[in-house]
Amino acid sequence: MANKKADLLQGTLELLVLRLLQSGEMNGWDIMQRIRLVSQDVLSVTPGALYPALHRLEERGLVAAGWGASDNNRRAKFYSLTAAGRKQLQSGRRTWSRFTGAVDALLRDA
């Protein structure tokens, strides 16, 4: 199991968070669960990495934060995408596919 887990590349976590927030506002816990779920446990994020990343995004104005009720009816901090975040997500996606495309090509044909 351990060798199947992949460490996240630098900056990738932020891209993932932006992508997840595209479908609506979420709190930190939900984001963590969602990453685990969607990647089928391949990608795992610790709170020690996730929360600073969220605060960094908020500081840069890419996400906005507010307090709301969670699904179990507790007060939780919810993050949502801002217009700047949406733009950042698009350009991040482009960069990502260029990058992975390039790596793929190299792995295939080099």
Binding site: W29, P47, P52, E58, R75, A76
Partner: protein, 890 residues
């Protein structure tokens, strides 16, 4: 850009609300943990086990929070809050120490800030003209007279030939009487060229400046009023422009009113009431010759023209004029000085010295505080060592200690600002005679900013050494010496600091001593007259009603008789210049000596006076006789000279000078016999260069001058009655005679004398305050160090005494250490004072900068003080209770 701004704003808002931010961070983390715990419980774990597992899975809640703070750039703020809270606790816990430090710093910073306020008002604030730094004063300079006003024809040549000025203007001081549209009022002002206001850059508040037609002989009389005069005499009536007023008996139409900010050589200076065109005087003889120097010249440099270029420009013209007019202009050079420089004069030196003194005081205060903190540092090292051992970074602890000292300096600075605020107020009230522009003093943002900067520098200065000292610990050593503070290097450092403090104190005290002695010397100077019981005032006979000599001379005569007959009047006189008042210098020739050409002839202070003048001023007669009522217009021409004149120009004893003959160069054919020799009078200031004096009976004044001179005579009265009473009596006598005769320059001779010494008194008083404060701080410093070292060496001293040392020996041991410190400091201080002496020289009078008496007095004083400060702790060493001394242990 707005995005950056928004982010900044957000960060700022959050910085203000860190408390809230911290709570949110807590909440967010807690929510996450609770979800995790709930999950684990659902998986079947017990609540306790679930909690432990959740914490494990989270992996360091505090580290995460720290990383979040870092992400937001909040970490420094968080640490700052920690440091501040800690510092506040320390400051509160040591309330006594804090109070001492705050007062010490408050005095230092307060003195500095108040003095900066003065410097700012006098030297730094620009004069109230646009681009005031472009304004310069141009004067003429000869070897004999380095600083003289300008001959009008020379000015005209400069004006047409110069290439570096946007404008050169001339003015001369005038005075007279306004009447016809209200009470007769004595006014002073200037006759100015029509470009005067444009050169200064002053727009008119109302109306317009003078036209070319008005600025020439025979032009329509026009007058410009100051704002203050307009307010006081015309109640700010805007309709005043275009109306007429009577000035010196002639109808002038008011063409303009100046703005309230207008200030040419000080609002305290009265010569700002009225302005008339200078051109109307052009045909007068004193305006035609290059030998008279009546006008003051102010110019505005072209933008981007340096002072140097303007000097070269005018120097070229001056040397051309030397070629063209060798008879009058040979050796006449030109000086160009910034207007502000000319305005504040030698106050720059005074203020520099005082500011320097306040810096010394602040440094002494800093050393004191550093010493106090060092003393505490040695007891705190253990705490610090423990924290270092537990993994704290040294930088972090340094920062915390510096936060502490900055907090102390901030409190001290606030206190200092309060002191400065009080001081500025009293300075403004006490110093106007001594300092030009002092009324501008204000604790505005510049002064407060200066105080804040000084406070920060101070906090770092006294904090850095103790902080380094405290954190530089050999862990093992400190931990091993359980409970006992470590001394050693710390003590050494403290002694060096105190020696340095003593050095600064000695230098400051020597400077103080020199200035105080200068003032004493000056007060002891015999002015040559007896200032007690003399009042004087200037009389002005309005031209309108006093048109001819026949109208003026009998009136003066009658008035003088009536004043002399007032009860309590010992004697009264009329003169053209009372001591410390105006003066007029004339060239003269001595019979039997080859006459110098007019421009090189010696000058003597010349007074036209009535018979009793020498008796009224108490000027002693050395030989011959005084003037008598029989020295009349057509009697034999006579003069009285002073002993200075006899010594300088006749080269003989006063008694044998009687019978010699002199004449004024302005009176070509009138030789006067010297009938008396009187004592020399220091006419302008007590510390002035001596200039010889000639007295002439008023009635023998050149006929064509009598009217001009007679309309503005000074009246002086010697009387034992209180000044107020005698002035009132004279006033009512004059009123009764002619209700419209304006009086001005009412003063007692004594207060005029005090005013003339005010600048020196100001220096001496201010430096004395600084010196006393410095001395007190030094006492505290020496006492602190000695007493601390005694308490540190209790065990050693106890041991020695147990082994047979005598108490007196211990006393000597402590005293000698203290004295060594003081002497080392004093030696450095003397060296510093010798070096600084050259700066002070310009402020001294009658005392050499290396005056041995002053040096000796200060050294003695300091040693006495050191002995007194060390005495108490030294006695403590002597009377040590041996049992408890040896028991002290950790």
């Amino acid at each position: 850009m707005p995005e950056v701004l928004a982010r900044l704003l957000k960060r700022l808002k959050r910085a203000v609300r860190t408390h809230a931010a911290e709570r949110e961070l807590d909440d967010e983390m807690r929510f996450h943990l609770e979800r995790q715990i709930a999950d684990f419980i659902r998986d079947g774990l017990s609540p306790e086990a679930a909690r432990a597992a959740a914490l494990r899975a989270f992996g360091g809640v505090e580290q995460s929070k720290e990383a979040c703070r870092d992400a937001r750039g909040l970490r420094w703020l968080h640490e700052l809050r920690q440091d501040l809270r800690y510092a506040l606790r320390v400051v509160r816990k040591h309330a006594g120490l804090t109070a001492v430090i705050v007062v010490t710093l408050g005095v230092g910073i307060g003195a500095n800030t108040a003095l900066f306020g003065v410097v700012d008002a006098v030297l730094l604030k620009p004069l109230p003209f646009p681009d005031a730094q472009q304004l310069v004063v141009v004067k003429e300079r000869t070897a004999a007279r380095p600083n003289r006003a300008v001959a009008f024809p020379d000015f005209l040549d400069w004006q047409t030939r110069q290439q570096t000025f946007t404008g050169l203007s001339a003015s001369l001081i005038i005075g007279g009487v306004l009447s016809g549209d209200g009470e007769a009022e004595r006014v002073f002002g200037r006759a100015v060229t029509r470009n005067f206001f444009a050169t200064l850059g002053t727009p008119m508040h109302l109306g317009r400046p003078f036209t070319a037609d008005e600025d020439q002989p025979g032009g329509a009389p026009a007058i410009v009023l100051s704002y203050a005069l307009w307010q006081r005499r015309y109640a700010r009536d805007a309709g005043v422009v275009g109306r007429a007023t009577n000035y010196n008996g002639e109808r002038y139409s008011i063409v303009g009113v100046l703005p309230p900010t207008f200030d040419f050589y000080g609002r305290a200076n009265a010569n700002n009431d009225i302005f008339v065109p200078l051109g109307r005087l052009r045909e007068q003889s004193f305006m035609q010759t290059r030998l008279d120097h009546p006008v003051q010249v102010v110019g505005r440099l072209q933008p981007a023209v340096s002072l140097e270029r303007a000097r070269t420009d005018l120097a070229g013209i001056a040397s051309a004029l030397e070629q063209e007019h060798p008879g009058t202009n040979r050796g006449v050079a030109v000086t160009v000085t910034p207007l502000l420089e000319d305005y504040v004069g030698d106050m720059r030196l005074t203020l520099t010295v005082l500011l320097g003194a306040s810096w010394l005081l602040l440094t002494i205060a800093c050393i004191n505080v550093a010493n106090l903190l060092l003393a505490r540092a040695s007891t705190r090292r253990q705490e610090i060592a423990v924290r270092l051992a537990l993994g704290a970074r040294r930088g972090r602890i340094l920062r915390q200690l510096l936060t502490e000292s900055l907090l102390l300096s901030a409190i001290g600075g606030a206190f200092g600002l309060f002191l400065a605020w009080i001081a500025a107020d009293s300075l403004a009230r006490l110093a106007p005679v001594a300092l030009p522009r002092i009324e501008e003093i204000a604790l505005d943002w510049r002064v407060v900013l200066f105080g804040a900067v000084m406070t920060t520098i101070t906090g770092l200065a006294f904090g850095i050494v103790p902080a380094l000292q405290t954190t530089d610990v050999e862990l093992q050593q400190v931990m091993r010496s359980t409970g006992r503070a470590v001394t050693g290097r710390g003590k050494r450092l403290r002694e060096v600091l105190v020696a340095g403090q003593v050095a600064l104190c000695v230098a400051l005290l020597i400077a103080t001593g020199l200035l105080v002695r200068s003032f004493q010397r000056l007060s002891a100077v015999d002015p040559g007259y007896d200032a007690a019981n003399v009042v004087s005032m200037r009389l002005r006979l309005p031209d309108a009603r006093y048109r001819t000599r026949a109208q003026v001379l009998p009136v003066l005569d009658a008035l003088l008789k009536r004043i002399a007959a007032l009860p309590g009047v010992e004697s009264a006189c009329l003169t053209t210049g009372v001591p410390l008042g105006r003066r007029s210098d004339k060239g003269f020739a001595v019979a039997g000596q080859s006459a110098e050409p007019l421009d090189r002839a010696p000058l003597a202070l010349t007074q036209w006076a009535s018979a009793d003048c020498h008796r009224t001023f108490g000027i002693g007669l050395l030989a011959g006789r005084r003037f008598t009522p029989s020295d009349r217009e057509h009697s034999a021409a006579v003069a009285i000279v002073d002993d200075e004149f006899v010594r300088k120009y006749l080269g003989r004893e006063p008694a044998s000078a009687v019978g010699e003959r002199v004449r004024l160069l302005d009176e070509p054919d009138r030789w006067r016999e010297i009938v008396g020799v009187v004592r020399h009078v220091r006419h302008s200031r007590l510390d002035e260069e001596s200039s010889a004096e000639i007295y002439i009976p008023f009635e023998q004044t050149r006929t064509d001058w009598q009217l001009e001179i007679g309309r503005a005579m000074d009246v002086a009265v010697r009387s034992a009655r209180p000044a107020d009473a005698i002035v009132a009596a004279i006033r009512s006598e004059i009123r009764a005679f002619d209700p419209e005769l304006p009086l001005s320059h009412v003063t007692t001779l004594e207060s005029a004398l005090q005013r003339s010494m005010a600048p020196r008194l100001f220096n001496a008083v201010l430096l004395s305050i600084f010196g006393t404060a410095a001395l007190l701080l030094c006492v505290v410093g020496i006492y602190g160090v000695v007493s601390y070292s005694v308490s540190q060496r209790t065990r050693e001293i106890g041991l020695r005494m147990t082994l047979g040392a005598q108490p007196a020996e211990m006393f000597r041991l402590v005293m000698s250490r203290a004295l060594r410190m003081a002497l080392a400091g004093a030696a450095m201080g003397v060296a510093a004072a010798l070096l600084l002496g050259r700066v002070l020289e310009g402020l001294l009078y009658g005392v050499h900068a290396r005056d041995p008496l002053t040096f000796l007095t200060v050294l003695t004083l300091l040693n006495v003080v050191a002995v007194v400060a060390a005495y108490v702790p030294a006695r403590r060493a002597m009377h040590l209770d041996l049992v408890s001394a040896l028991r002290i242990d950790g």
